[in-house]
Amino acid sequence: MSMPGDSTVLRQTAAFLAEYASLLLGCGGTCIRIEKNTKRMAEAFGVNLDIFIMPDHVTVSVWNTAQTHAEIAQRRTAHCGISFDLNTRLSQLSWKIADNRLGLPAAVEHFEGIKTTKPTGKWEVLILTSFANAAFCRLFGGDWFAMLIVFISTLTGYRLKQIMLEDGRDVRLTFLCASFFSASISAGGHIFHIGSTPELALGTSVLYLIPGVPYINAVSDMIYRHYLCAFSRFFDAAVLTACLSAGLCAGMLMLGLKWF
C-alpha cells in the first residue's frame, strides 16, 4: 500500500497540486486563494507544501511529514480565460478533498472532470454583456434611447472582440478595435440627435472592456504581498485600459467630437 511519504506518491501529489494551481491562476484566482486551497488539500493528503507563484508559472514542492524527502513540480499558467464557474468548482474541490478526506486518485478524477467544464456559451455572454452595459448606462442616468444605443454598440463591439480573439489576434489590438467601433457606433446618438443623453451613451459604450478582474486581483495580491503577480496583473490591465482609451479617443476624433 502506498503511503503519503513514498517518492512516487509525493511526485504525483506535487504534479496534481501544480496542475490545480496553474488552472486556478489561469481562470482568475488570486494568489491567496491558490495558497489556501493547495495547502488545504496538501493537509488532507498528509503532506507539507510550499508554493511559489509567478505570473506565468507555478512551482509546488511537496514534502513528506518527516521533512526528509521532497518532490517539485512546475507548471505553466493555464491560458483558459477568466471563468468564475471554473474558479468556484476548483474551490469546491479543495473543500471536498479536505472534508471527505478524498484520496489522490479520487481527487485527480474530480479534477479531470472539472477541466472539461465548458465555458459559458458565446451568444449568451454576448447578449448578457450587452444588457449589462445598457444597465450601466441607466445607472449613470442615461435615457431609454441611450440604453438602446449602448446595447447595440456593445453587441457589435463585443462580437468583434469575440471574432478577433477566435482568430488569434493580439488581445491589445482586439481591445483597441472593439473600443473604436463601440465608441463610433454609440456616437451615432450625438451625430443623429437621438435621445437627450448621447454623451452618456458614448461614455458607457466601452465599459464592458474594462479589465475589472485583473485590477481587483492585483489589489488582493498586493495586500497579501505577492508583489510580482500584483504588478504583472496591474500592468496587463493598464495596457488593456490604455488600448481601449486609444480606441475611444480615435473614434471621437474621427467623428469630430471635441468634448475635451
Binding site: 457606433i185 451625430i191 467623428l255 469630430g256
Partner: protein, 74 residues
C-alpha cells in the same frame, strides 16, 4: 449629410461588412467540411511575402534550407 455623418456611415458599413464576411466564411467552411473531409479554408488570411512571390525554380527562399544542397553534401 455632413462630415461626421458620412464618417459614421462608413465605420458602420465597415463593421457590417466584417460581420457579413465572417458569416459567409463560417457557412462556406461548414459546407466544405460537410461535403468533403478537407480542412476548412479562410476566405482571408495572413501570409509571408515569400509564400506569395516564390516561383518554383527560384534560387533561394529566405528562411528555408536548400534541401538539394544539403543532400549533395552528404
Amino acid at each position: 449629410m455632413n462630415y461626421p455623418m458620412i464618417t459614421w456611415c462608413i465605420i458602420a458599413a465597415v463593421l457590417l461588412c466584417a460581420f457579413i464576411f465572417r458569416t459567409i466564411e463560417y457557412y462556406t467552411a461548414r459546407h466544405r467540411s460537410y461535403s468533403c473531409d478537407h480542412k476548412a479554408k479562410h476566405l482571408l488570411g495572413f501570409g509571408r511575402e515569400t509564400d506569395m512571390f516564390y516561383v518554383p525554380g527560384d534560387d533561394h527562399i529566405p528562411g528555408i534550407t536548400n534541401k538539394e544542397d544539403a543532400s549533395e553534401d552528404q
